[in-house]
Amino acid sequence: MKKTYKIEVDCANCALKMEEAAKKTEGVADAVVSFMTQKMKVEFTEGADEKQVMAAVLKACKKVEDDCEIFFS
């Protein structure tokens, strides 16, 4: 399953860090962050719970860049 989320991040380097952090999160098969379009595309592993994974992704991202925001509901 692939999903795209709107994000808010201020600098290009921070976006790269968010991408790294998201990739390492459990339940994420792959992640791409586009700083220019302010979007994050996440590919989940089989059977992963989207909400749980995204909460973990947000936490991991906040750790590397505490100014960032990911909008998922």
Binding site: T4, S34, M36, V64
Partner: protein
């Protein structure tokens, strides 16, 4: 400016003013340090906080950390000078932080602005659809809620929100937002219209044929919004580079601060701790990788945005990057280099008759007026006038030969050479390329009409420009007969032709070409999206042309040209080259200046002020250069 940006702006102004005032305040020693701490805190508190948080989270080497270490180091050095009884130098530390913030603010404003520019270029999202409610009043509804088959009303000046068919009304449409083409398109009842066009004059009632999510406009928006996700090689390189670069620089700075003084000490010279520490701090300020990290994605994004404004949709930076290395361009013939519609291109009257060209055409059109064959349709179109079918009688269609009919009492035979032979009518066979319709009137050969696919006006110029742009080989694939294919290829100046291909054979033809190209070169396939989705996928870069409304093509292609003009491909290559040139300029420029400044800094020739230029100045210049990608020559 956003709220966040405004806040930073105020902080910059406050601390800049404080810095100027403090310059004239005659305070010495620790009091001076404490006073300078005020502007320092105002401008740098968030950077320091992020640096500390970063370290706590194990993210040691980032630009916040670099800035924090450099400025705290500079302030500490000032305190050290005070302990020795000298007047401490505190302004530099504050100034570095101040300029860093100015640079960040500039970057954020510039990026935000180009993002808005690009969205404005692609401003095709319709806000509402006019739908009739139970009482018959037209109400504005969310396009997402409109079901297939609903009648929607589009007033002049409004955007068509959903794909559909005109149920009532005539108007002209502005397709500029989709195709970059400013010529309006006229539509009448029964015509298919696509979403995203702007209705110019008449009121249209449209029966929707798709849901909003499946409509052209939604597909295009999705494509554009996802374009940033496919990253170019260059972008990936910079990401990797930044990962190793920052730690490397921090280690070098540490070595620069510690090793020379120790070596000096061991050799019995003065250690000079202070001067080497300053050099190390300068080193840190210079080294910030921001200029590269921001300007490269910005360049690609600008290039994609600029291309979008010209009616060229690129699905990712990787394709934009690859297009610059186009080596072989393979064209599908029908619909790509040719119009894909059959027209009467020649009318030759035999010397044995006194009929004129238009009379021969008229008689042939009348004779064929009951036929539904595409050839008959072309004849009727070429004739153009109203056909009075009561004048036609005794129609007899002979499969594979042609038609016999009586028109205004004359016996007309219209068909291929076999028909003439069958009727024993002597005629002169022509070797013109295309479908030939021979016409005989009352048993005498009257002439022939040549019907062929028309080559697009711009095709020849497009091939020539591709060659000029450095494309090594142009190839044409077609299912058409060899004679037709070779004539067209000669006419257009195409290098190689593969004709009489079945749809499946096109893929193997492309695979063969892929094997023979150079390793770095790219194979571009251009098709009209009908029946060639597998080839589009197989080529390095698949370009679908005139894809308005053709979903399969939008899905399979990497680049979509919104209208039928083959010159757009040349334009796409130019945009790609320009973008790449700017990207390389930025890499060379930013790395070059930094390398020079780093060496000067390490040798002690560059002070803090040069360091600030190397960081912020280079970034500002790189961003300004990147913004140029957005500008596309009309």
């Amino acid at each position: 400016m956003t709220k966040k940006q405004k806040k930073v702006l105020y902080r910059i102004i406050i601390s800049a003013v404080l810095l100027v005032i403090l310059h004239f305040v005659p305070v010495e020693g620790y009091a001076r340090f404490l006073l300078y701490l005020i502007p320092y805190a105002v401008i740098g508190y968030d950077i320091l906080r992020k640096a500390v948080l970063g370290v706590l989270h194990g993210e040691v080497f980032d630009e916040n950390f670099l800035m924090a270490v450099a400025t705290v180091g500079a302030m500490a050095l000032g305190v050290y000078q005070v302990t020795k009884g000298e007047p401490g130098e505190f302004a530099e530390g504050v100034a570095v932080m101040l300029f860093y913030q100015v640079g960040e603010l500039f970057q954020s404003v510039a990026v935000g602005k180009s993002r808005r520019n690009i969205s404005a270029l692609m401003d095709i999202r319709p806000d509402y659809a006019n739908v009739q409610d139970e009482d018959g009043n037209w109400v504005r509804t969310d396009p997402e809620d409109v079901e297939i088959g609903t009648i929607i009303l589009v007033q002049p000046g409004e955007k068509i929100p959903i794909d559909g068919v005109v149920a009532e009304g005539n108007s002209s449409l502005n397709t500029a937002a989709l195709t970059g083409e400013s010529k309006p398109r006229t539509v009448h009842e029964g015509d298919t219209v696509i979403s995203g066009c702007v209705n110019l004059n008449g009121v249209l009632k449209i029966q929707t044929s798709r849901e909003f999510g499946e409509s052209t406009v939604a597909k295009i928006l999705e494509l554009v919004e996802n374009s940033g996700m496919k990253k170019a090689q260059t972008e990936k390189f910079i990401t990797k580079f930044a990962k190793y670069y920052t730690p490397a620089v921090c280690c070098s700075a540490l070595a620069l601060a510690v090793l020379p003084p120790i070596i000096n000490g061991l050799m019995g010279n003065a250690c000079n701790w202070e001067s080497w520490l300053i050099r190390a701090l300068t080193f840190l300020v210079i080294s910030c990788p921001c200029a590269l990290v921001i300007s490269i994605p910005l360049s690609f994004f600008g290039g994609i945005g600029g291309a979008g404004a010209a009616g060229i949709l690129v699905k990712g930076s990787n394709y934009l990057e690859a297009l610059a290395r186009a080596e072989i361009v393979v064209f599908d013939k029908t619909g790509t280099l040719t119009e894909g519609v059959f027209k009467v291109t020649q009318c030759q009257v035999s010397s044995e008759t006194d009929l004129t060209e238009s009379e021969v055409l008229r008689l042939a059109a009348y004779a064929e007026s009951f036929s539904t064959h595409p050839i008959s349709k072309s004849l009727r179109e070429a004739y153009g006038g109203e056909i009075n079918r009561s004048l036609v009688s005794d129609v007899e269609e002979i499969g594979g030969h042609g038609v016999l009919a009586s028109v205004e009492g004359k016996k007309i035979a219209a068909g291929n050479g076999k028909l003439m032979q069958r009727l024993h009518i002597p005629f002169r066979e022509t070797d013109s390329v295309g479908t030939v319709v021979y016409v005989a009137v009352d048993g005498t050969y009257a002439g022939y009409l040549l019907i062929s696919d028309v080559v697009k006006e711009q095709s020849q110029a497009a091939i020539a420009s591709l060659k000029k742009a450095g494309v090594k080989k142009t190839v044409m694939l077609t299912g058409d007969s060899r004679r037709v294919a070779e004539t067209i290829a000669d006419q257009l100046g195409i290098d190689a032709v593969k004709s009489e291909l079945l749809p499946g054979e096109k893929v193997s033809a492309v695979e063969e070409l892929l094997e023979n190209k150079s390793k770095k070169g790219q194979l571009v396939f251009v098709g009209d999206g009908i029946n060639d989705a597998p080839v589009l996928t197989r080529a390095d870069i698949g370009v679908a042309m005139g894809a308005l409304g053709s979903d399969a093509a939008i899905e399979a292609a990497d680049i979509v040209l919104m209208d039928d003009d083959p010159m757009k491909l040349v334009r796409a290559i130019r945009i790609s080259r320009k973008t790449l040139r700017i990207v390389y300029e930025n890499i060379v420029f930013a790395l070059g200046i930094k390398a020079i400044c780093l060496i000067l800094g390490a040798l002690g020739f560059a002070g803090m002020w040069l360091a600030i230029f190397a960081d912020v100045g280079v970034m500002v210049l790189a961003v300004l250069n990147a913004v140029r990608c957005l500008q596309v020559k009309k």
